[in-house]
């Protein structure tokens, strides 16, 4: 990523639609997660409009599931805010990693695109950018795909959630993990990167064991990033 070509950040209806289509296969699995969330949320006692509103406005599955754990007749605000922030803090890092390309967009588009950032479309677009391919359509169009299928899945979960007997036994809980791992394994590889990843993994585990809940992603990512900044590749 030593050179940032202007066309890479281009955002037009054509590449948004292409990005949308590229993330539809994965989005079908997002529907399943959505169903699981819709079902869990009804069982927690949220009313249907609230559940749909949460999926549409928050659009961050892990933190939505976590909020259900804190839900009751009363919800304590501070623990909720801390939990949601900690689980979603990785978006801060995603935004930072996208900045070299986002900075070419006018602020309204830049922040508009970021409304729909999630793990999958971020990983796909970063991979495209690092190969020197345009990634903004993947980011925004892919985000639209995941967002709409997430809402669709949530809605289906309200009515048909109990139809999925045991998603775990079908391995459906593994879709997102396998996807993200495929993104790691498909990217650039070098001894330097391998060592950076090992440091990130060890730091994440230490944080997972010894630091407050949900801090491990940020700790591991920062550890890897800092090592990368100290031990730079030779400039080509």
């Amino acid at each position: 990523m030593s050179d940032v070509n202007p066309p890479l950040h281009e955002l037009n209806p054509h590449n948004v639609w292409t990005g949308f289509k590229q993330l539809v296969p994965l989005s079908l699995f997002v529907v399943v997660f959505g169903v699981a969330f819709g079902l869990a949320a009804t069982q927690t006692g949220l009313d249907n409009p609230s559940i749909i509103a949460m999926s549409a406005l928050v659009f961050a599955g892990a933190s939505q599931f976590a909020s259900l754990e804190l839900w009751g007749a009363q919800v304590a605000l501070l623990p909720l805010v801390i939990t949601v922030f900690a689980i979603n803090a990785r978006h801060l890092l995603m935004g930072a990693t996208l900045y070299p390309w986002l900075r070419h967009l006018p602020p309204a588009k830049r922040y508009g695109v970021m409304l729909l950032v999630s793990d999958a479309n971020w990983a796909m677009s970063m991979q495209a950018f690092s190969r020197g391919e345009p990634g903004m359509g993947l980011l925004f169009g892919g985000g639209l795909a995941i967002w709409s299928f997430w809402i669709l899945g949530t809605w289906l979960g309200l009515y048909f959630g109990s139809a999925i007997q045991d998603p775990m036994s079908l391995g459906l809980d593994m879709v997102m993990s396998c996807f993200l791992l495929a993104m790691v394994a498909g990217g650039d590889k070098s001894l330097r990167l391998l060592i950076i990843w090992i440091v990130a993994a060890v730091a994440a585990l230490l944080a997972y064991w010894y630091l407050p809940a949900n801090s491990h992603v940020v700790v591991g990512a920062l550890a890897g990033g800092i090592l990368g900044a100290l031990w730079m590749e030779n400039k080509r």
């Binding site: 030593s2 801060l92 070299p100 900075r103 992603v217």
Partner: protein
């Protein structure tokens, strides 16, 4: 401070969650707009982008059942061999599902 969930309370809670999440989506970009993108910053960013995923996956792999671990292994191997994400994901899910049927 607590909010009662019946009535408008639920919506207020959801709006607060949405605002916190939006702050995480916008915050990183906003902060970076004050940072000059030097070569060192580029190196930080590119090292961090893979590290986010590694940090996310490591505890999952360590704490998961053997089905999950084998599934991740299958995904990694398929991806390294074929370099195509969809077969790699499919391999991971199939291996996990088969192992859990045993």
């Amino acid at each position: 401070m607590s909010i009662e969930t019946p009535g408008l309370g639920a919506l207020i809670i959801i709006l607060i969650m949405a605002a916190v999440t939006l702050a995480t989506r916008w915050g990183g970009v906003w902060v970076m707009s004050f940072v000059p993108i030097s070569y060192r910053v580029q190196q930080f960013i590119s090292a961090m982008s893979g590290s986010v995923l590694v940090a996310l996956l490591t505890p999952l792999a360590l704490n998961g059942d053997n089905g999950a671990r084998l599934g991740l292994l299958a995904t990694a191997i398929t991806m390294l061999l074929l370099k195509k994400p969809l077969p790699a994901i499919a391999a991971g899910i199939v291996v996990t599902a088969l192992f859990r049927q045993l």
